[in-house]
């Protein structure tokens, strides 16, 4: 087996968190190698340039791993959800839509608030400077002054325009007396850091080949490579190796192009393979010292999987909405119901996002809620009244972490390298169901306030006999940070309790998921964790014990 020169740090996964770790460490002169199972995606690979862009979005460029079924992906063995992610340089930031709200102070205190999720081992205030620093790194459009958040650092560009869709929505929010504010997006509305401003093309659900959106392959990787990080693509890590003392010694990976196995020794291993890939790899890395999987003496690895509880509505109005153009979520966020109010019959909160509906083909298919134009003689009449008259209304709720919602290793399904695929069990808690039903009622109220002539809600099966089976694109909680080794996988610096030179830095680190998109928080956490490792590297590279402080 080829052995490489020892690295100071080896990072598994080049997505939102892995890229930030690579940049911070490489800029400090720490010899850093990142291994990524997928390839580079070049701007010309994206679907945006061809008339078939909508077809590609739902087939070969689908964000659903089990639809795409490429060799660089891994299948997900589950009947509970449709797991969405992207594998390749930049990870899922390659195809996400860069909606960039922050968590709220109370999101870090759910243990105190109701006890059905733990408190985070740090507060909003601890993370706030890292939020600001990560925004400065990636470029965020928005405007200060939202009274539903604490004062915060600057945005890098003005907000994106809300389109006629957003203007229509504003009026409905005002009629209802609900909070609304322009949605922060990691998509620049003006040139920033050598990148061009968004040109409003409306296809962000395919990613952004211009680099206007923060996709780590455009925004961070060029800098990390220039700083000296070595990035090996098509390099699938099979296991993290540990020595007799239980410390990590490096990783074994397979070069997917040649099939040859390699060993990459390292003093520190960072796993940043996302909320599904990370627990999978930790479970695959069992050894005599770590018989239940690496870093899993607490039995928490893979548990507490969160995705947010979701619904998506569409309303159609007597006015043109520009809903095929512009950044998908660049209109408003509504935080009216973001804080817990037990009088509603559940704990936790939700946010509503005004979102676009893609192109003519997808709109004929009814957009996200599936309000499909009938086939046959009535097709064109439906298309005429609905095309470019829609407003998307996304419902995002804070689902509870449940130990039974978990990633384990599949007994039947394998990836193209023969490694067991992850198996996912994900069921809603009664609290989550109550929350999303409440949200659905609010969506109906909103449609009425918007004078919609048509409304459709996709509750992902919640009200059907088959039950809730959502698309799952926020992959969180499966190797959480904490203060207590008994119920967390790492300490507050993301250092594994059981293996002092192993770090887990990605969506799996989150103890609770809040009611908003997670990646601004994942990025801020990664910046914080990597900076701490960098600043204390002399000691931490040799650490044999993981401390609580």
């Amino acid at each position: 087996m080829p052995r490489h020169e020892p690295a100071d740090v080896v990072i598994v996964g080049s997505g939102a968190a892995g890229a930030v770790c690579a940049l911070v460490l490489a800029e400090a002169g720490i010899r850093t190698v990142c291994l990524e199972q997928g390839p580079w995606w070049r701007p010309e690979d994206y679907p945006h340039w061809g008339a078939d862009w909508e077809w590609r979005r739902l087939t070969d460029w689908s964000t659903a791993v089990n639809t795409r079924r490429k060799a660089h992906d891994y299948p997900v063995d589950t009947t509970d959800e449709n797991t969405l992610m992207w594998c390749g340089v930049g990870g899922s930031t390659t195809i996400y839509t860069a909606t960039w709200p922050r968590f709220r102070p109370s999101d870090f205190r759910k243990g105190t608030e109701h006890g059905l999720a733990p408190d985070w081992p740090f507060t909003y205030e601890d993370l706030a400077p890292w939020y600001d620093a990560s925004d400065a790194l990636v470029g965020v459009s928005g405007i200060l002054g939202d009274p539903s958040y604490p004062p915060r650092g600057p945005f890098q560009t003005r907000p994106l325009p809300p389109r006629r869709m957003g203007r229509w929505a504003q009026k409905a929010f005002d009629r209802l007396g609900w909070h609304w504010w322009p949605m922060p997006c990691a998509m620049i509305a003006e040139p920033f850091d050598g990148r061009p401003a968004c040109n409003n093309c409306g296809a962000c659900q395919n990613g952004c080949p211009r680099g206007s959106m923060h996709s780590a392959s455009f925004t961070i990787w060029p800098k990390a490579l220039a700083a000296g990080c070595e990035l090996r693509t098509d390099a699938r890590v099979e296991r993290i190796e540990t020595g007799a003392d239980g410390r990590a010694t490096g990783v074994t990976y397979v070069d997917r192009m040649s099939g040859v196995r390699h060993h990459q020794p390292a003093e520190v291993v960072i796993v940043a393979a996302n909320g599904v890939g990370t627990p999978r790899l930790l479970l695959l890395s069992e050894s005599a010292k770590h018989p239940h999987g690496l870093a899993n003496s607490s039995d928490q690895v893979g548990r507490n999987l969160m995705h947010h509880v979701l619904g998506i509505a569409g309303l159609w109005v007597d006015g043109v909405t520009d809903v095929h153009a512009g950044v998908i979520s660049a209109a408003q966020i509504c935080c009216e119901f973001a804080e817990t109010d037990p009088a509603r019959g559940f704990v936790n909160g939700m946010t509503f996002h005004i979102v676009g509906q893609n192109g003519a083909g997808f709109q004929a298919l009814g957009a996200h809620p599936g309000n499909v134009a009938p086939w046959g003689a009535r097709h064109h009449a439906h298309f005429r009244s609905h095309f470019n008259h829609g407003i998307g209304f996304l419902l995002v709720g804070d689902d509870l972490p449940q130990p039974t919602n978990r990633v384990t290793l599949s007994l039947t399904s394998k990836d193209s390298s023969g490694l067991p695929a992850p198996h996912i069990t994900y069921k809603l808690h009664e609290n989550d169901k109550r929350l999303i039903r409440f949200a659905a009622d609010r969506a109906r109220e909103f449609a009425a306030a918007a004078d919609a002539f048509d409304f459709k809600l996709n509750d992902f099966g919640l009200s059907s006999a088959d039950g809730y089976r959502p698309p799952a694109w926020h992959l969180l909680g499966t190797a959480r940070i904490g203060d207590d080794p008994a119920n967390s996988v790492t300490n507050k610096w993301h250092q594994a309790w059981d293996c002092a030179n192993l770090y887990v830095v990605d969506g799996s680190s989150m103890p609770s998921g809040a009611a908003v998109n997670p990646t601004s928080t994942i990025t801020a956490m990664a910046l914080r964790a990597a900076s701490h490792l960098r600043d204390n590297f002399v000691d931490l590279r040799r650490a044999t014990v993981t401390r609580r402080d």
């Binding site: 077809w55 739902l58 539903s148 509305a189 093309c201 095929h324 935080c335 192109g359 003519a360 064109h380």
Partner: protein, 160 residues
């Protein structure tokens, strides 16, 4: 027996699903079936196409009413297979240049593809696009308190 891979069968299928009107061309008139054939094969595979052919039966020889009946039968008997067909037909139709032109003729600014042109990006206008009276609040860290769960019986067992 006529198979759904035959051009005439495909044309009958797509034209029945999306006929023309005074503005929009029919799906077959703009060649949609040329895309639909290979795409259905990509999506459904050989077996799926054979299943589709069998479920639909020959369409080209039927009149419009007969074709509609055959498609409606598929829609109720095998909703999943039908959904794949509908997705393929609709997406293939709306990417045809003549259909994009029809959408534009309705007065919508609509491009053949998202890039490279995109759409105009007017600057954000704070006078119009910010709330006149901003609303909203948050609970600061120091003020997060235990909420009263007494009324939420279903949660009692889980709180820790």
């Amino acid at each position: 027996m006529a198979a759904i891979t035959d051009a005439a069968e495909l044309a009958a299928l797509v034209d029945t699903m999306i006929p023309g009107d005074e503005l929009f061309p029919s799906a077959a008139a703009v060649g949609t079936h040329g895309l639909v054939g290979p795409r259905l094969r990509q999506l459904l595979g050989r077996d799926g196409l054979a299943r589709l052919s069998a479920a639909l039966g020959p369409l080209a020889a039927l009149d419009r009413g007969g074709r509609e009946t055959a498609i409606a039968r598929l829609e109720s008997a095998d909703p999943e297979l039908f959904a794949a067909v509908r997705m393929t037909v609709y997406l293939s139709y709306y990417e045809q240049p003549a259909v994009v032109d029809a959408v534009r003729a309705m007065g919508h600014d609509y491009n053949d593809a998202p890039q490279p042109d995109g759409y105009a990006l007017p600057p954000f206008d704070p006078d119009q696009d910010l709330p006149r009276r901003p609303r909203g609040a948050f609970v600061p860290t120091a003020e997060v308190r235990r909420v009263d769960l007494a009324a939420l019986d279903f949660l009692q067992a889980g709180a820790r």
